[in-house]
Amino acid sequence: MLAAMMATLSLAQDGKKIAAGERIYNNYCSTCHGDDLVSTGQTFDLRRLRADERPRFENSVINGKGQMPPWKGTFNNEEMDLLWQYIRANANNK
């Protein structure tokens, strides 16, 4: 019973994190990477990121990549984590 409650609580917390990540994504990323993470084809489709690619993701966000501007100083560690949670929750390959 307790374990089930803990699991539900944990899921709810995850849901909150994902929603917070979505807000950050909508504010900063969606203009190029697409509404709801759906890229039309001109930019990288973030849903392709795999679970082990977080360092690559953070490096691109901080330093920019190709036509993407550098976002250094814009997101703190927690916000970066929220963004990653949102992307992973919608990944092609979970």
């Binding site: 909508n26 900063y28 509404d35 709801d36 759906v38 036509q67």
Partner: protein
């Protein structure tokens, strides 16, 4: 002819030649629509009609239209620029370069690159683009994304002056520039973007010779100024009101018409009130920057309904009498006709599917808002037509004085919409799409737009040609009743202005979101347009129809095959 008259005639000719040698004088710009060998002013003339009197290319021979040449822009961003053409040279732009190209051969004459800090793109919400140059007395003038206005020598591309728009117009504060300047009697008028980053918008002007700022007209009132009472608390400080699309000019009334954009944030619960002067049309005295009249189309707007479409100036019959009017196809789905001198609203009718208002009260000028609109303000989830992209976005309409109709690439997309708790804002922080929840709604996912021929006074379409994705290209119409447009899947097309039938289509290498123009040289007519997908719709709409459209900007010129 008497000797005196001969001498006078010779003198006049000299004066004319001298004027021609100086080139692109104020008088030349005023007369642009009547001199089809040149395309000098954004919109193919100060009236912004995008109408050409040329008829050599017509319904009978348009099938023989073939590319003369194409030119690589060397860029993968959206190609939205309006090509300016003078003395056989085409001047065009990308977000980071200005180019002069031989109009007959497509060979590059010069290219000037414009550097801007990479962080600039953090505050460019809606497409990394530039919409073109202005020309005046041998100078080519443009704005760069990081709020610099640059004047170059038309012959060499060498920089003559480079002015940074004064504080607070920095990228850190959310400002950027994408539109082409409008030059009126030596006054360079420019607009800004940034209402998705909590800025306070303005229209401003510079001296064409020195680059010195002449005036700035804020679109959002400062505390205590008239209109400031229409903002809740201190919400006006980050109130938006961009001016990101070039205006038009009437020389007789000496008025510039400029469209003003959405309030910031998109979420309306943070800024209760009419939010003057967002979503308005301004009539501005170009010499002083005085706002002579304004008309607000969408008070307290939750839906990003910028009123930025270039107001088209035309003389049309209203109640049986010819009247000079300005016409605006607004993002909110209504087509507005206003008296050009006084700004009195003469007609306002829907040209697309609209459910946020039942109509416009012609006496008060205010929309008759619906339950859905009130629910949106209250934070309830609603379905709204049109979507935040609008019944039309920035893509310019054309107007034919011959048919009396507007030719517009309308968008047929709705949305679900919900404004949750409003965000806290600060200058330069995002205040756009992240502040509301939306999903796309379509009647038919394979008909998201129409090219329509619309009566300005009724909003009714004589014909409507459907497209899978909305056309993000502007239209252009000729006296031979041909309408030219681009398609986001790459086709450049000519349609019959009387029926809407597609008469000719040519596949360019990328999607077209540019602005077609036509011109003539040595007795032959040409059509020029840029190809190169980008812009806010292609980037973010997730439209599956665009999945296989490659990026890559190029400039194209077409003529009749006559071998």
């Amino acid at each position: 002819m008497t000797k005196f008259r001969q001498a006078f005639a010779a003198l006049s000719l000299t004066a004319l030649l001298a004027g021609g040698a100086l080139a692109q004088t104020a008088a030349d710009l005023r007369n642009d629509q009547n001199t089809p060998e040149d395309v000098l002013v954004y919109g193919m003339g100060y009236a912004g009609q995008r109408y050409s009197p040329l008829t050599r290319i017509n319904k009978g021979n348009v099938k023989k239209l073939v590319p003369m040449w194409s030119y690589a822009i060397t860029d993968n961003r959206g190609a939205e620029a309006f090509p300016v053409i003078k003395d056989g040279v085409i001047y065009t732009t990308s977000h980071n370069a200005t180019m002069a190209v031989d109009a007959m051969t497509g060979k590059q004459i010069w290219r000037t690159n414009h550097e801007y800090p990479p962080e600039t793109l953090r505050v460019v919400c809606c497409g990394i683009v530039n919409r073109g140059v202005a020309i005046y007395e041998g100078k080519i003038i443009r704005a760069v994304l990081d709020n610099h206005i640059v004047a170059m020598d038309a012959k060499t591309g060498k920089e003559i002056w480079n002015t940074a728009s004064p504080e607070p117009a920095t990228i850190a504060n959310g400002y950027s520039m994408t539109s082409a300047p409008l030059i009126v009697n030596g006054v360079v008028i420019v607009g800004v973007a940034g209402a998705e980053y909590s800025h306070r918008g303005f229209v401003e002007a510079y001296d064409v010779n020195t680059g010195k700022q002449l005036w700035r007209l804020y679109t959002i009132p400062a505390a205590g100024e008239p209109g400031s009472e229409t903002w809740q608390g201190d919400s006006a400080l980050t109130g938006g009101g961009s001016s990101w699309v070039t205006g038009s000019y009437d020389p007789d009334l000496d008025l510039v018409y400029w469209g003003i954009g959405n309030p910031s944030p998109w979420n309306p619960r943070a800024r209760k009130g009419d939010n003057l002067f967002t979503n308005s049309i301004f009539a501005i005295r170009p010499k002083t920057g005085e706002r002579v009249w304004y008309y607000q189309a969408s008070p307290e707007d939750p839906f990003d309904f910028d009123a930025v479409q270039t107001p088209v100036i035309a003389t049309i019959k209203v109640d049986g009498k010819p009247r000079k009017v300005v016409i605006q196809a607004n993002r909110n789905g209504f087509l507005y006709v206003l008296d050009a001198k006084e700004g009195k609203l003469l007609a306002a009718n829907a040209f697309e599917k609209v459910n946020w208002a039942d109509g416009i009260d012609l006496k008060t000028g205010r929309p008759k808002v619906t339950e859905a609109f009130r629910d949106a303000l209250a934070g309830k989830k609603v379905t709204i037509w049109p979507s935040v992209s609008g019944g039309i976005n920035w893509q310019h309409v054309s107007f034919s004085p011959k048919t009396g109709l507007l030719y517009m690439n309308a968008m047929h997309i709705g949305m679900t919409y919900e404004a949750e708790e409003p965000p806290k804002l600060a200058l330069g922080r995002p205040s756009g799409p992240g502040t509301v929840k939306r999903t796309t709604v379509t009647d038919d996912p394979n008909v998201r737009g129409y090219l329509k021929a619309v009566d300005p006074l009724t909003g009714k379409a004589k014909w409507a040609t459907p497209y899978k994705s909305p056309n993000w290209s502007s239209t252009m119409v000729t006296a031979s009743n041909l309408v030219f447009t681009g398609v986001m899947t790459g086709e450049f097309q000519a349609l019959d202005a009387d029926t809407g039938k597609i008469l000719w289509s040519f596949q360019t290498p990328s999607g077209i979101i540019g602005q077609p123009v036509t011109w003539e040289k040595n007795g032959k007519q040409y059509v020029t347009v840029m190809s190169g997908i980008g812009g806010v719709y292609a980037l973010r709409a997730g439209d599956p129809n665009l999945a296989n459209v490659p990026a890559g900007a190029s400039l194209w010129t077409f003529g009749l095959f006559d071998k």
